[in-house]
Amino acid sequence: MKATEKEFLDLMQKHKGILYKISRMYFDHTEDQQDLIQEMTFQLWKSYQNFKGDSQFSTWMYRVCLNTALTFFKKDDKKQDKYELHENYDRIDTDDSAFKEEQLKYFYDAVQELNKVEKALIFLFLEGMNHKDIAENLGISEVNARVKLNRTKEKLQTIIKKNGYEF
């Protein structure tokens, strides 16, 4: 393996959380998630030579990964192997980490009902970006980013409540 390849793969391991979160937001089937992770890694590697370090590595990574996720379409005939949430709706685990994970599962389940741009908006918001940065990443105006984000948050709340979970 070439030195740059190894350096890149090490960087990916360090920032794999971004890949994981985006893939889980965009697809609920594990096979689709894996395909998207592969595609994001490929696109990041393709663009890596052009990354000059003007921005933070994670900022650059958000942009390339979201561009990839937006134009990535899953295969039509996938087996239904999504995370099953509904069976355990009323169960609250006493283990704190399991409880947190369950709450996040409800969130990820609800996110599947958003469109691709709404998913990108929520992802950037949860990563702690302000309206200006969100707008810059997606190429829309700051006002538009604010309006769209508020609308998406309301939509997400409605979906979560509709699914029977308190929000």
Partner: protein, 210 residues
């Protein structure tokens, strides 16, 4: 739970163990790559068709001579020139798609959509322009020496219509049905290999504009 709580949980969520393999750096399943794959498939089909068209008059069963041969190769040249015209467009868009992504999301999607849309429209217009050429090539190779008689009969349309109207009707019906059939086939090919990608990009653009 509210969005503040959600954000905390988001930051502290347990990470699944993802293994980033070295092979990921060489394989792509993106929309852009699928478009390029369709272009390549199309180009191979086109080259095979051209070779076939060039070989046909050399085969014993479909040999043509004289003026017909000249007309035939002139039409083949037209076929090649128009093909090169839209393949140049496909090549430009493939090169653009392969470039590392430096745009923001909306910009890159809009750019990809319009370049791709333009390439498909160029392809569609070329097909429509080449339809009569393709039919003429077929008539020449299938009719061989009888092609002269056929042209002669159409040249003296009025007389033929009075003496042999069934011939005129038959040729016209076959011609119209062939053209409609070829148009439908072309539209189906465009929709099957390119249209769905264009539709997906359009939907994404609309999501941004919504």
């Amino acid at each position: 739970m509210n969005f503040d709580e959600l954000q905390k949980k988001w930051d502290n969520q347990p990470e699944k163990d993802i293994n980033i393999k070295a092979e990921y750096l060489t394989k792509s399943k993106s929309l852009a790559e699928k478009i390029i794959k369709s272009f390549k498939r199309e180009a191979i089909f086109w080259i095979v068709s051209i070779v076939f068209i060039l070989i046909v008059p050399l085969m014993e069963s479909s040999q043509i001579y004289g003026v017909l041969s000249l007309i035939y190769y002139f039409l083949v040249c037209q076929f090649i020139v128009f093909g090169l015209y839209y393949y140049r467009r496909f090549y430009t868009i493939s090169k653009m798609i392969k470039q590392p992504n430096t745009f923001n999301s909306r910009e890159s999607i809009i750019k990809l959509y319009y370049e791709f849309h333009f390439a498909i429209e160029t392809y569609r217009s070329s097909i429509y322009i080449l339809l009569p050429t393709a039919i003429a090539l077929f008539v020449i190779t299938a009719g061989k020496d009888k092609t002269y008689d056929l042209v002669e009969k159409f040249y003296h349309f009025k007389e033929t219509f009075q003496t042999d109207p069934a011939f005129i009707y038959t040729v016209l019906i076959i011609g119209v049905v062939t053209i409609i059939g070829l148009i439908l086939l072309s539209e189906w090919i465009i929709k099957k290999f390119y249209g769905r990608y264009l539709k997906q990009l359009k939907e994404l653009m609309d999501e941004f504009e919504d």
